[in-house]
């Protein structure tokens, strides 16, 4: 019975969701109450996870695995979701999205991600994935009176359902060829060359690559990013990506551990393609959300380069990369909440022109965040790329490293173009003076972290050292 302690964060989160639903139904105009309650619940879950930090337990016939790796990612997504709740509060109210279901559906998707992260079994993994994606479909089209948002929701739903189908097909093939749905047992039986299992691996990888929007499966990203309300885009850009990468690492580290030759080429291809397309296609974008969508595609390419090495140091560098990526994106999207003229939110890059004259601090935080996204030295984004390329070079994959560095240079062009528009163009639009402490605090914390990261670059790495043993 004491085994129930290992799943207590998930149980608490689910009971919290039910409580929030009840509160939302029985009180009128309960959005602000429910969002505060949700933040409290998420904080409580962080406490419970920290309370039980460390150790590795498998429960429910080894299908649910509670270890440091999953705990780290759970805390990462909880903290980023809390920051999203705080910083998007004003935006959600302005856009009339303040229905009480909004935080509840986000919590549902977090619950699904918890099970994806802790899954040690294909069935549990797929159930978690479905819970997460179903919540994301609703979130993408939550601004239902807006045609672009509904279109984004439908597009995401159709494509994501297709990729889930492929993934499920892969799961069934894998079960057929290995005789088990358990990750550990699959890992043990996949030692020899097995054509069928390689097909299964490819199908599963397609499904996972779709979830992190890596290149051949990236088509939905710009449209969904643009169509969904900015607060939801913020969530999409940060949380599901981190979980998708974590799950890719899980799959490569456990069931597919012994067929590394087979998946390594695929991951290298996906990584290179994402880096190239993400940097080239972003150049012509005029909408800042689309620009960030392409930027996130290329960032996924860099993160996957770490996975492609198949070594512990590569995985660790990917986790460092995704952590810094989350912090950069939290700051950047918080900046988008400030782009408001006459009460309307603007998404055009040209509206930023001449920002440095009337809002120097806002312009400066854009500068730090975009320099960091581009990977310019003293900032955090540089170290993220540095660790990834170090581990790639350690594994002697020089071509991948060279292409990665070249695409970094290309992508620097469009980040710098935005900075040039902010600092050297004539002012066109004057933004409202938004006095919102939580948005500014998010930007400030993110910029502070990115600019002071060079003092101790190994801080995340040392935290992660004990993740893979």
């Amino acid at each position: 019975m004491e085994n129930i302690n290992y799943i207590i964060p998930e149980i608490t989160l689910f009971l919290g969701i039910c409580l929030a639903l009840m509160v939302g139904v029985f009180f009128r105009n309960s959005f602000s109450v429910v969002i505060k309650l949700s933040i409290l619940i998420l904080l409580g879950v962080i406490y419970l996870i920290l309370n039980d930090w460390g150790g590795e337990q498998k429960i429910f016939l080894d299908s649910f695995k509670n270890d440091k790796f999953s705990d780290y990612f759970k805390i990462l997504i909880l903290i980023s979701s809390i920051f999203i709740f705080f910083s998007s509060d004003q935006f959600v109210k302005d856009k009339m999205l303040n229905k009480f279901e909004y935080p509840i559906i986000i919590m549902f998707s977090i619950l699904g991600m918890f099970f994806m992260l802790s899954a040690n079994d294909l069935i549990l993994f797929y159930l978690g994935l479905e819970l997460q994606s179903l919540a994301l479909y609703v979130l993408a089209s939550i601004d239902r009176d807006n045609t672009i948002s509904s279109e984004a929701g439908i597009k995401y739903f159709v494509l994501s359902a297709l990729s889930s189908g492929l993934l499920l097909y892969g799961c069934s093939l894998l079960y057929g060829f290995t005789g088990s749905t358990n990750f550990d047992e699959i890992g043990v039986s996949l030692i020899t060359q097995n054509t069928g299992a390689i097909f299964a691996m490819v199908f599963i990888l397609v499904g996972l690559a779709f979830k992190v929007s890596a290149v051949p499966f990236h088509m939905w990203t710009p449209d969904v990013y643009q169509g969904a309300p900015t607060s939801i885009t913020n969530f999409f850009a940060v949380v599901p990506k981190a979980v998708g990468l974590a799950v890719i690492i899980r799959f490569m580290d456990l069931p597919f551990k012994n067929i590394i030759e087979e998946w390594q080429t695929i991951i290298i291809f996906i990584s290179i393609a994402s880096m190239i397309l993400g940097s080239v296609a972003a150049i012509g974008q005029k909408n800042i959300k689309r620009l960030l969508a392409y930027s996130s595609i290329s960032h996924m390419g860099y993160a996957l380069a770490g996975v492609a090495t198949g070594t512990v140091s590569g995985y660790t560098s990917t986790i460092i990369y995704i952590t810094i990526y989350i912090i950069m994106n939290m700051g950047t999207f918080a900046c988008l909440y400030l782009m408001k003229t006459d009460g309307k939110y603007s998404e055009k890059i040209e509206d930023l022109s001449g920002l440095s004259k009337d809002r120097p601090m806002f312009a400066f935080s854009f500068l730090i965040l975009f320099f960091s996204l581009a990977g310019i030295p003293p900032l955090g984004g540089f170290f993220a790329k540095f660790f990834v390329f170090m581990s790639v070079i350690e594994s002697e994959m020089y071509a991948l490293a060279i292409i990665g560095l070249l695409t970094t240079v290309i992508s620097a062009f469009y980040y710098l173009k935005v900075i040039k528009i902010i600092y050297f163009d004539d002012s066109k639009v004057k933004f409202d003076d938004v006095r919102n402490l939580s948005i500014k605090a998010t930007i400030f914390l993110s910029c502070l972290f990115l600019s002071l990261y060079f003092i101790s670059p190994s801080i995340i790495g040392s935290l992660l050292n004990e993740l893979f043993i």
Binding site: I7, F14, L21, F60, L61, S63, F64, K99, E101, I104, I105, F108, L111, F115, I123, L124, L127, G128, E130, L131, L134, A135, Y137, V138, S141, I142, R144, G176, F177, T178, G179, S189, N194, T195, G196, F199
Partner: protein, 209 residues
Amino acid sequence: MLAHAIFFYFFSILAIFSALMVITSRSTVNSVFFLILDFISVGCLFIMVGAEFLGMILLIVYVGAVAVLFLFVVMMLNVAQQKQSWFVGQKSTHIPSGLIVSVLILLELLVVVGGWKYKENIMSSSNLVIDTSITNTHSIGSVMYTDYILYFQLSGVILLLSMVGAIILTYRKRENVKTQSYLKQISRDKASAVMLKDVEFNKGVKIDD
């Protein structure tokens, strides 16, 4: 055994025939009816191999819920008389490209089948003990609520989410909707409900004022 064979061939031929009719019949409503017939005959086949739980679930879920839903959609969209010009009549550009893709997929599947290798002793290595003394429903229930309780509960969470999601995407609070209020209805008395009026000759009476 002869009766068994006769029933088996009867239901399988029925299943294949109705599956063909689903895709070839002109009227969409007929297609749905043939789909239901298909489900029923496959359900009977399941019962014949001893999987009575699966057969019943097929009847309840697919015939009872899914097919009826299809029927509703077909009737509401008013596509019952839609001509399948796609299939007959003028030349279609879909068929050649579709054929090419299907042939490619078939070839790829042949490649997989060519390299087919099951895990050794897949049947004997599975540690499933089949207890023949209890029914299928009993044995499924006994693992579903014990070993696989997490999956079962998680499926419930997914259903809850789909309900909440459907409500948030479609529910609109409409203005000027007349709703029933029991309290108001019960608390009416004779004085407010009944009115006596003298009707003047040739003038009538005005009710709404």
